[in-house]
């Protein structure tokens, strides 16, 4: 056994302990810049901590020495949970403590200078990124840290680092500088000082150097103006924030999960506003201002039109049939020279006094507006979907549930007292469940159990698919037999939409009942399966309807006796949209309000019903699909959808506040938001776009109404307009070439789709590569930890050795002193 050194409580020895760094100057030399970097105030605090540790240390120092030496003797190895961890159990000497406290990993955010030097490193990295050095410039090393992920501050002086940081900030572009400033974890006063220094140099430069060219000065002013404009546009947008207070209340009471439904509703509203704006500006207003020749008998307005969309509304801007297939004529400046095209009455073409007329070609406008609106919506959708994917990206590792729950599941938005209490209870329950899962291992299922599990699932799936098929057949036969095309009483037109909406309402209940008997691995799997079954139902019903409208009615419209099949389809979609809304109201009333009364009075349950987020979001997606399907046939349908969404928001909010409570299960908001946006993009928008494209390219428009009458397909209008334009202005021949080769040629579409797929493939590969790098870095952190343990124990060993050699000397000295007294 190592000999006992007999530390006494003598203050002489305490001072010796404090002074020992002087002896170990050789050992500690490399750490001195780190120690110097610590600011004086924090140094004092650390000293105080160390003094406390020191007092305790003296008692246990020999024990610590024994244990640490024993452990170091055991050598480096993976420390299991049962082994003694030298970093925790051993009491370190004052010197080691001081070194430990000044290590960079412990000073993050503590001292101002450490933060500033970190910001400096980041700014250097940002500047380097702008000049893009290749990774080959760095020496090959096994450790990525040396390759440039972390660069050391070369200057040790505090003010020097700050100056360097300011210089780097000046060198960055204005946008980058603002982004860097905002992301710095230092307080506002310091930030505004840095900003002032950075900006003042920037302002001084144009004045001092006279050699700035006119061009760069103009560029500078343009950039500044653009930035000011962008800032004021953003603040204008924010002042228009719709429902800001409502969103805050809902978030405060129900949390992020339920809030995501309302935010999704807001997103849909914005899409519809955009569509309405585009349609209104380019289609509705020009046509409304120049009404076509009055048609047949005037139909009076009865209240039923609001529900059926027929009758009085048939011959209005609302539906396809109203739009002329000619150009509208307006007088304008003599300098504009556009010929009028396709006007049936040449006399109306040229105005008096030889003034040339400007004509607005409605068919071409209809075609291009619809196409452009769909294209822009597609781009916005794909962009928001990819952004959402990026935010919800995470490495899948099942073992980190507990820490995530403790640190990151508490929703800071919730501010109502009862909701906070509920959240705490939920968290408690989830933690208990997790603990019980962790403690007892999963029992292996026997063969019989596994077979029965499979059988139950197979049965459930068969039942769901069979019922979906049954519903689809029901709709199909109802369409064939009972749905009148031109009925005597208009109200019977509402039977089909009512049937479809009731299917959509009741069938998910059946699915839920079936899911009760099934056993799932986790609640999220259960949620996804329910959503998928619901989605399948809606897709099949909509598929049957689209086949009927576009396949049967459009093809055989004459034999069925319809004069204007597009208006008919538009009216059908209007009816479907409206019925969907009415049934949602009924569902909210009966489903939520009456169920709450029932469960509280009859079943005597304490808890109110839970707001079913997934089902409600699917309803929204379904409604939006109908709107997108119908916009070609009814340009004002987005307006109807806007009104519906506005009313829906207030209705759902009121019902939520009165009848519901927050969900008990944790709701992974970002994952689900990504999922919903991709649902909106893929089945919903893609399906609608495919139907619209098919209609435009393949179907023959009706011969007696609408802007595309007398054409073989709707797409011909665009072609003929471009051809006429080129005839009038031969210089625009390239436009005709562009149109015929790009818009009409399917090869172009294939090429675009191919490029899109290639880009997606590259991106998935990049993400894969990033995942691998993350795993590597994780391993590296573990290695660094091992290195740290090794070095600290070596340091402690060296210190103990020094102490063992110096203390016999001090004992001699003290004996001499006592002798001299």
């Amino acid at each position: 056994m190592a000999s006992n050194f007999g530390f006494s409580q003598d203050p002489h020895h305490m001072e010796a302990g404090l002074e020992s760094p002087v002896d170990e100057r050789v050992v500690l030399h490399s750490f001195s810049p780190l120690i110097k970097e610590a600011s004086p105030s924090s140094e004092e605090r650390r000293e105080a901590v160390e003094m406390q540790d020191l007092a305790e240390e003296q008692d246990g120092d020999d024990q610590a020495f024994l244990s640490s030496s024993a452990l170091v003797g055991r050598g480096r190895g993976r420390l299991g949970a049962k082994q003694v961890n030298p970093l925790v159990r051993a009491r370190w000497s004052a010197a080691t403590q001081r070194v430990l406290c000044s290590m960079p990993s412990r000073t993050i955010g503590r001292s101002q200078n450490a933060v500033i030097s970190q910001c400096y490193n980041r700014s250097v990295r940002r500047l380097r990124r702008q000049s893009q050095p290749s990774i080959r410039d760095f020496s090959l090393s096994a450790r990525p840290s040396i390759r440039g992920y972390r660069m050391e501050v070369t200057s040790e002086d505090e003010e020097n680092t700050r100056e360097q940081l300011v210089k780097n900030l000046q060198a960055l572009s204005a946008g980058d500088r603002i982004r860097m400033l905002r992301a710095m974890p230092i307080n506002m006063t310091e930030k505004s000082e840095l900003r002032k220094l950075a900006c003042s140099f920037k302002e001084k430069r144009p004045r001092s150097s006279t050699g700035i060219s006119f061009f760069s000065r103009v560029k500078y002013y343009v950039i500044i103006t653009l930035q000011h404009g962008w800032c004021s546009w953003l603040s204008f947008l924010q002042s228009l924030q719709l429902w800001q207070v409502a969103v805050k209340t809902i978030g405060g009471r129900f949390g992020t999960g339920v809030l995501s439904y309302f935010l999704f509703l807001k997103t849909l509203l914005l899409f519809n506003v955009f569509h309405f704006f585009v349609n209104g500006l380019f289609l509705v207003i020009p046509q409304a201002v120049n009404p076509p020749r009055p048609g047949a008998a005037e139909i009076s307005f009865t209240g039923l039109e609001l529900l059926t969309g027929g009758g009085y509304f048939t011959d209005t801007v609302m539906f396809y049939g109203y739009y002329t297939n000619s150009s509208l004529n307006e007088t304008c400046q003599p300098s504009l020279k556009l010929t009028c095209a396709g006007a049936p009455d040449p006399a109306g073409c040229r105005g008096g006094d030889g003034a040339t007329q400007m004509s607005y070609n409605i068919p071409a406008a209809y075609f291009f507006t619809t196409g452009a609106a769909f294209f822009v919506t597609c781009i916005i959708l794909v962009y928001s979907m990819s952004k959402s994917f990026g935010q919800s990206f995470h490495i899948k590792k099942s073992r980190s549930n507990l820490t995530t729950k403790v640190f990151f599941s508490w929703d800071f938005k919730v501010i109502k007292k009862s909701s906070v209490k509920l959240q705490a209870e939920n968290l408690c329950t989830q933690l208990k469940e997790l603990l019980s899962e962790v403690n007892c291992r999963q029992v292996e299922k026997s063969q019989v159990q596994r077979l029965s599990w499979l059988a139950v699932h197979a049965l459930a799936w068969t039942m769901c698919l069979a019922s979906t098929l049954a519903c689809a057949c029901l709709v199909f036969f109802f369409l064939d037999e009972h749905h009148p095309l031109s009925p005597n009483d208009e109200a019977s037109l509402l039977a089909l939409p009512a049937l479809v909406s009731s299917i959509n309402l009741l069938q998910p209940g059946f699915f839920n009942a079936v899911a009760w008997m099934e056993e799932y691995d986790s609640p999220s799997v259960r949620a996804y399966v329910a959503i998928f079954r619901n989605l399948l139902l809606k897709v099949s019903v909509l598929g049957v309807l689209c086949y009927h409208w576009l396949g049967k009615i459009a093809a055989n419209s004459k034999s069925l006796g319809l004069t204007c099949w597009e208006s008919y389809v538009g009216q059908e979609l209007y009816r479907f949209l409206l019925m969907d809304f009415i049934f949602t109201i009924l569902d909210t009333l009966f489903g939520e309000f009456l169920w709450k009364l029932f469960s509280q009075r009859v079943l005597r349950r304490q808890r109110k019903p839970v707001f079913d987020i997934a089902r409600n979001v699917l309803e929204l997606v379904y409604g939006q699909t109908l709107a997108w399907l119908g916009v070609l046939f009814s340009p004002l349908l987005p307006a109807v959808q806007i009104i519906k969404l506005l009313l829906l928001f207030y209705m759902k909010k009121t019902s939520l506040m009165m009848n519901c409570q927050a969900p008990r299960r944790p709701w992974r908001a970002s994952q689900m938001t990504t999922f919903f946006i991709s649902l909106l993009c893929f089945p919903s928008f893609l399906g609608a776009a495919v139907c619209v494209t098919y209609t435009i390219w393949m179907l023959e428009p009706s011969a007696e109404c609408g802007p595309f009458r007398k054409l073989s397909t709707m797409a011909m209008s665009g072609k003929s307009w471009v051809a006429e334009l080129v005839n009038a202005h031969p210089k625009l021949a390239w436009l005709c070439w562009v149109h015929s080769h790009l818009v009409e040629n399917p090869i172009f579409l294939f090429v675009v789709a191919g490029i899109f797929l290639i880009v997606t493939y590259f991106h998935t590969q990049v993400v894969d590569g990033q995942r691998k790098i993350i795993v590597l870095l994780q391993e590296q952190i573990e290695n660094e930890g091992q290195d740290k343990k090794f070095l600290i124990s070596k340091l402690q060993m060296a210190h103990e050795e020094k102490r063992s050699t110096s203390s016999p000397r001090q004992e001699l000295r003290s004996r001499e002193d006592s002798c001299m007294d």
């Binding site: 420390l79 955010g109 992301a183 002032k196 994952q671 930890g785």
Partner: protein, 187 residues
């Protein structure tokens, strides 16, 4: 925006706009909220940078923070003296970091500070126990708390010192994409 407000100079508002995630209107609204916490202490004229700090007790009673179990830690993390007395700059800083637009890295730094109760730059077992007790309102038994803390440290600690350093914390955040949406207070 050509407004006639006299609370801040244009230069100050520009600085706030560049250094935080708020627009000018929101800064003025924040000043209104700050002022109504203590109308007799907070001046309406901030053009000369008055040195006014509101005590922690006033800030912690704001409706947005009142029911939050970490309210005192949040306010302490953003104060300069570590006691929770916030000047207007600190107040703006706090809500800027907790706003929707703050990036993940910035939120991670402050989240770590908030959960580090003894401010030693590590989340040790005692810090974890305090966090848990605040979250569950002490409804877990001490054995359960102990078990949860041990398991959590086992899961998250990568460098093996039985404490969570900032690197471990950041690693955890990469597995919790919901962090951005939960670590958010609307003002």
């Amino acid at each position: 925006m050509g407004n006639k407000q006299t609370i801040f100079t244009d230069e100050q508002l520009d600085a706030y706009q560049d250094c935080t995630f708020f627009t000018r209107k929101e800064i003025l609204r924040l000043h209104g909220r700050y002022h109504e916490l203590a109308p007799h202490l907070v001046p309406m004229d901030y053009t000369h940078d008055p040195d006014v700090k509101l005590p922690s007790a006033l800030i912690v009673n704001m409706p947005e923070l009142k029911e939050n179990p970490f309210r005192s830690r949040i306010v302490e993390s953003f104060s300069e003296d570590g006691e929770g007395n916030l000047s207007f700059n600190d107040f703006v800083d706090m809500f800027s970091v907790l706003s929707e637009m703050a990036p993940r890295e910035l939120k991670a730094i402050y989240a770590f500070k908030i959960y580090d109760f003894n401010t030693d730059n590590f989340i040790c077992k005692e810090d974890l126990e305090k966090t848990l007790n605040k979250l569950t309102r002490e409804e877990l038994t001490p054995e359960e708390v102990n078990l949860v803390c041990e398991k959590a440290i086992e899961e998250a600690d990568l460098d093996g010192d039985s404490k969570l350093s900032f690197a471990d914390f950041e690693n955890m955040i990469s597995r919790a994409p919901d962090f951005l949406s939960t670590f958010h207070i609307r003002i």
